[in-house]
């Protein structure tokens, strides 16, 4: 019981079991480190995405601000943050104001639960993976709340789509997680990575990998599932009436979420920090996450947007059966072969 409490409150791995104040201080220090890391990666991914998409389109992308336009996003951020906030005449201003910062803090919270390497983790919870996915399920809910509280019909439609997608993509993700837990015997992320020492889960359960990847794209609004802010249909969906400073946060949030998604995919399926020993674990971790993110960016540059009914079709009639087949195969292999 004592150990469990320490797990939940504290950061045994980082500071050892000292007094509670040390633990709290440790969490704050680690959270700041994580936020810096998240910012750096979110920012860099934003720049990489602009550059890669520009290349796919015979463009150069940003070139003027900073070396190779690296500071362009910073300039955009400053511009957006310096703009005035629009108060909605018919809408819940309070909800709009809190939901975007809350989403950002949720992504920091998820990153606190994810290990960067064997020793670099805020808290190693026994049910860490479950908590991560419970937190992820909050994102569409906040999208829904924001879209609904802007009092805009485009926001309404976007909010409805958000809920539909939450319903159809949460299930296959949970089934895949259960499969992973079944294979490793725990929801502990450290344990899951350790179980991939011999071979990655992407090779063991390719079906699960595909299902998880597609569901993650849908969950984090990446194309071809960016129906919630479909610019050619809904102008910007739930972001139509949002003011510039919050929009800047949302843009930043997009990249942090991409980073999170890539982290989760590489932890669960690509062996996390495991790799040849000439590089430290955290380097492998970040390399894998970056590669996954690059793939996501290339998808954005090339894919067309799906229609909501086809998205639901894909979720219910393709991904859920696939994830169940994956579960079945894993169970059979575990039960009779191993």
């Amino acid at each position: 019981m004592q150990a469990d409490m320490a797990d939940i409150v504290g950061i045994q791995g980082l500071l050892g079991s000292g007094s509670i104040w040390y633990n709290i201080l440790g969490i704050i220090v680690y959270a700041v480190i994580v936020m810096v890391l998240l910012s750096v990666f979110g920012y860099t991914f934003g720049w990489i995405e602009r550059k890669i998409i520009a290349r796919a389109q015979y463009r150069h992308g940003p070139t003027y601000v900073g070396k190779y336009g690296f500071l362009q996003n910073m300039a955009d951020l400053i511009k957006l943050l310096s703009k005035r906030e629009i108060r909605l005449a018919q809408g819940d201003n309070f909800m709009v104001r809190i939901s975007v910062p809350l989403m950002l803090s949720l992504s920091v919270f998820i990153l606190l639960l994810l290990p960067f390497s064997q020793s670099l983790q805020a808290t190693n919870l026994g049910l860490g993976l479950l908590l991560v996915f419970v937190t992820i399920a909050f994102f569409p809910m906040f999208v829904f709340l924001t879209g609904f509280s802007t009092g805009n019909k485009f926001g309404d439609i976007s909010a409805q789509r958000s809920v539909l997608m939450l319903l159809s993509y949460e299930l296959p993700m949970i089934i895949v997680i259960v499969t992973i837990a079944l294979a490793t015997g725990s929801y502990n992320i450290q344990g899951i990575v350790a179980a991939q020492a011999n071979r990655w889960f992407a090779l063991v359960m390719p079906l699960g990998f595909i299902v998880m990847f597609v569901a993650m794209l849908a969950e984090f609004e990446r194309p071809p599932f960016d129906l919630r802010e479909a610019d050619s249909e809904l102008i910007a969906g739930w972001l139509t009436d949002i003011s510039a400073p919050y929009y800047a946060l949302v843009l930043f949030l997009d990249y942090t979420r991409m980073f999170l998604g890539s982290m989760i995919i590489s932890l669960l399926f690509l062996g996390g920090w495991l790799g040849p020993s000439f590089l430290p674990g955290i380097a492998w971790m970040l390399i894998k996450a970056t590669l996954v993110a690059l793939f996501v960016i290339v998808i954005r540059a090339t894919m067309f947007r799906m229609r909501i009914d086809r998205v639901l079709h894909l979720g219910w009639l393709v991904l859920i059966p696939l994830s169940l087949i994956n579960l079945l195969i894993t169970y059979i292999v575990l039960l009779w072969i191993l």
Partner: protein, 365 residues
């Protein structure tokens, strides 16, 4: 379920200009689409009445800013008919070449915007813009301007085509042929594209005839009608022009028709260069304030623009038109939108709107 009424436009990313739609939605299905136009109305038809004959081509070009030369040529042709001026043979070939180049440019722009409407991140848009720019460069070589050419003169063109124009054009056409195949490969192998284009926005051939749509939209519905074939002008008779049509009448058919028309235009341009008489000139009458007296009081003619059939009807007065009436293809094709979109999904409304290839300048005039 309650009906949601949403207002789309006149300022919206994918209404291609200033079109306003009021859409009644039942869930995600469209119950009714109401189109509101007139945001770009400039009264060009009236304006033309106050100008001398050859002062107006520049206005005509602004009607359809995606294919300006086509309107320019249609207007000058109707003036030629009214004034009884014959077009020199070499100029006829040159006009056909320029018109087909304009058609390629217009269809390429359509391809890009269509992919944008389907939620593509501007990738195909940028590709087709780059290719379109090569065509625009050719037109610039020929006319001196990149976008608004105003180089059609009574009886011919403003000036002779540049000496190396043929070689340049044929080179670009070879490239364009390769690129068209590339577009087809890339786009038609994309499952999401096929899913959103095939069987969506079906316009039956009967409805197409009843609604009076023309151009690629009509031919996609299986009706074989192309002014270049049914009522040929200039040298289209001499060239082996083959009409392109499809059966199904859905978005994908409209896409196919346009892609095939690009290929056909490439072929036409090559053939026209081959048959163009080497001697003779193509210079038209220079623009003077006084033009010859009209011989026909009422003259009308139709032209196949990239967007469909354009009918020019002119009642001539000395020096000025008494009345000019334009049947613009975009306007009639837009009327089909509410018919096609009924019962479709909201996302498909924009795919259908894109597939009709509207230019609001052409709708509002």
């Amino acid at each position: 379920m309650a009906i949601t009424r949403i207002n789309i436009g006149p300022v919206h990313p994918s209404t291609h200009g200033v079109l306003r739609l009021v859409v009644d939605l039942d869930g995600d299905m469209i119950e009714r689409v109401e189109t509101h136009i007139g945001f770009l109305h400039r009264g060009v038809e009236k304006l033309v009445e106050t100008r001398m004959y050859m002062q107006s081509p520049a206005y005509m070009e602004k009607l359809d800013y995606v294919a300006p030369l086509s309107y320019d040529e249609a207007y000058v042709a109707v003036v030629e008919k009214a004034l009884g001026i014959e077009v020199k043979e070499r100029a006829q070939y040159a006009r056909v070449i320029l018109l087909e180049l304009q058609r390629i440019a217009s269809h390429l722009l359509w391809l890009g915007t269509m992919c944008n409407d389907l939620g593509q991140m501007f990738t195909v848009f940028m590709w087709s813009f780059k290719d379109r720019d090569m065509v625009l460069k050719l037109l610039e070589e020929a006319s001196g301007n990149r976008m608004f050419y105003v180089n059609v003169r009574l009886g011919g063109l403003q000036r002779e085509l540049p000496p190396d124009f043929e070689a340049q054009t044929l080179e670009v056409m070879d490239y364009m042929e390769k690129r068209t195949a590339e577009y087809e490969r890339y786009i038609e192998r994309n499952p999401v594209f096929m899913e959103r284009m095939k069987g969506v926005g079906v316009l039956s051939s009967k409805d197409a005839k009843d609604l009076g749509v023309t151009g690629p939209v009509l031919r996609a519905s299986g009706v074989e009608y192309d002014v270049r074939k049914n009522n040929p002008y200039y040298v289209y008779e001499n060239l082996h022009f083959s009409m392109k049509s499809q059966e199904k009448g859905d978005n994908f058919s409209r896409y196919r028709v346009r892609i095939m028309e690009i290929k056909e235009s490439i072929r036409l341009i090559r053939e026209a260069f081959g048959r163009m008489p080497a001697s003779g000139d193509m210079a038209g009458m220079p623009i003077r304030l006084r033009s010859p007296e009209p011989v026909n009081k009422v003259s009308k003619l139709s032209r196949e623009l990239p967007r469909g059939e354009c009918l020019m009807y002119m009642v001539a007065d000395p020096q000025k038109p008494y009345r000019l009436s334009i049947r613009s293809p975009s306007f009639i094709n837009l009327a089909a939108l509410s018919h096609i979109a009924k019962g479709q999904r909201l996302a498909d409304l924009f795919a259908i709107l894109g597939s009709l290839d509207l230019v609001m300048g052409c709708v509002d005039r």
